[in-house]
Symmetry: C2
Subunit: 307 residues, 2 copies
């Protein structure tokens, strides 16, 4: 969808293979973490699984696993963190779609959770997904540890009132206001980039990376997340409904504070590329290897994706 | 409000002193954990503090601290767990009061959070409180540890789809159904007793208690929680609105599955006392000391309270 970015070359099919592998690992871990649909209360567990297995791209888990690989570990090391990230991400979607929030009936081309299961069950399913995210992360694949406690701290800090939830409040309160880029950027940083940032950090923590690498991954994740959200703003304006899985132009109709509203289409596009480039630069000092190539590829993908 | 129970003697004013001390410790810990009201997004942080500092009795923190004392530690050891329990308990109240759930306008004689701050902010404040509970617990007073990771696992398991959230779903779905005591009891065990159970367990974990004591505390907390919820059902039917801080008889009006509906008033009263006695029995094998007396006093209080 966008022009070329400066990021290093990567093999497109190799990246797709990597993403496919992450999806498989994450989905099997999620299936393991979530209670079966038949367990009481069945409606609750059905709603949780409906929301989680709704065709998500599992990008945050991929960032987490790529970070673990970059820090020298097997991708599997980051499985609990990858599942926790996706559980947490899914809860934000379920709650954001509720009538008192964005009031969305469609997500990824399917009815949203509250449209299928009702508002109360959707609210509670979101609560349970958030809770399960922390349980699964703390358990650390069957071995609670200092590292798993630190990972819970990092994920909660990113997700709470100073992170995702805070950004969501400012996003809602900002509807209809003048789109100043500094304000929009602060909302994007918390609402979206905080979770990508912690995805990369959790990968590093799971791999027992040193502080210098953790710091670099934090910058990488933040910059990638900013690029991703700006690309999202652009897609909301320009993609087709079939591709988006929801109505086109809904952000503008609501007077949402988006990068496009603040910077215009070409300004937003240029800014997204600058962030993707900054992501790549953050990890460059550690040298070039195949894991590096995957992180570069993900940064490129975050701005060049078509959905 | 009820007849005498078999629990051991305790000094009423000594128990009140203990509760007062726990409230002070918990409230100062909560004040430390919660971002200031002036920090952006200010409405979110105001809503979080409004909900948390709303005149709660801090009973779950008291159970947690009493358990830590019983297991041989200073009460302060359990401060992070006590705050986490109250943050989590508060989130359940905020979400339960929402229009799509119980739709309550009053709680403890004050307007509920969504009546003051709006539905979206109340929903997000609840999300942020839940998230902060896990962050604060995992941090473990500045020292993330294996113990703090285990405490997160225990709290999340109690709070999730197999605990509080699951009980809440069955509670909502049960409205208007035939009040079978087995069903009611299963709902009470998850919706209410699970949090008292884990309160006692977290106190034991914070004190590094051995498995036998942890197991005894789990039984104690469960039985106390059952007694507490049945007493709550009785109060909802018999207390005055001034004492309750909300309309009397609301459970019956909604066709809620309560102990009173299932067992009648005297049957419910007898059952509450049996649970309080079972709580006391669970810790008896470990001998009698002053910490034991506090736990006994709390068990008695759970059935004899007037609000």
């Amino acid at each position: 969808m966008m022009g070329a970015t400066r990021v290093a070359n990567y093999d497109e099919s190799q990246l797709q293979d990597f993403l496919q592998q992450c999806r498989c690992l994450t989905d099997s871990e999620l299936d393991h973490a979530l209670p079966p649909e038949t367990e009481v209360p069945a409606t609750l567990h059905q709603a949780m699984r409906y929301a989680v297995f709704g065709g998500g791209k599992r990008l945050r888990p991929a960032v987490c696993m790529a970070a673990a690989g970059w820090a020298g570990s097997a991708l599997e090391t980051a499985r609990p963190a990858a599942a926790a990230l996706e559980l947490l991400h899914t809860y934000t979607l379920v709650h954001d779609d509720l009538p008192c929030m964005d009031d969305d009936a469609l997500r990824r081309g399917r009815a949203t959770t509250h449209m299928v299961f009702g508002e109360a069950t959707a609210l509670l399913a979101g609560d349970a997904l958030l809770t399960l995210a922390f349980e699964w992360l703390a358990r650390g694949g069957g071995k609670a540890s200092v590292s798993s406690a630190l990972q819970v701290c990092a994920l909660a800090a990113a997700a709470g009132s100073r992170g995702v939830v805070g950004g969501q409040v400012d996003d809602l309160e900002g509807e209809g206001r003048h789109p100043d880029w500094q304000v929009v950027s602060s909302i994007h940083a918390r609402k979206t980039a905080a979770l990508f940032r912690v995805a990369a950090v959790l990968g590093g923590l799971a791999a027992n990376a040193g502080q210098a690498r953790i710091d670099a991954l934090a910058v990488y994740g933040h910059e990638l997340g900013m690029a991703f959200q700006i690309a999202d703003d652009l897609l909301n304006r320009t993609a087709s409904e079939a591709v988006l899985g929801k109505p086109v132009g809904s952000d503008r109709d609501r007077g949402k504070l988006t990068a496009v509203a603040a910077l215009g289409e070409s300004g937003a596009r240029a800014t997204a590329h600058r962030h993707a480039d900054a992501a790549v630069s953050a990890i460059q000092p550690f040298g070039q290897n195949s894991a590096n190539t995957v992180l570069n590829g993900l940064a490129k993908l975050s701005v060049e994706r078509s959905h």
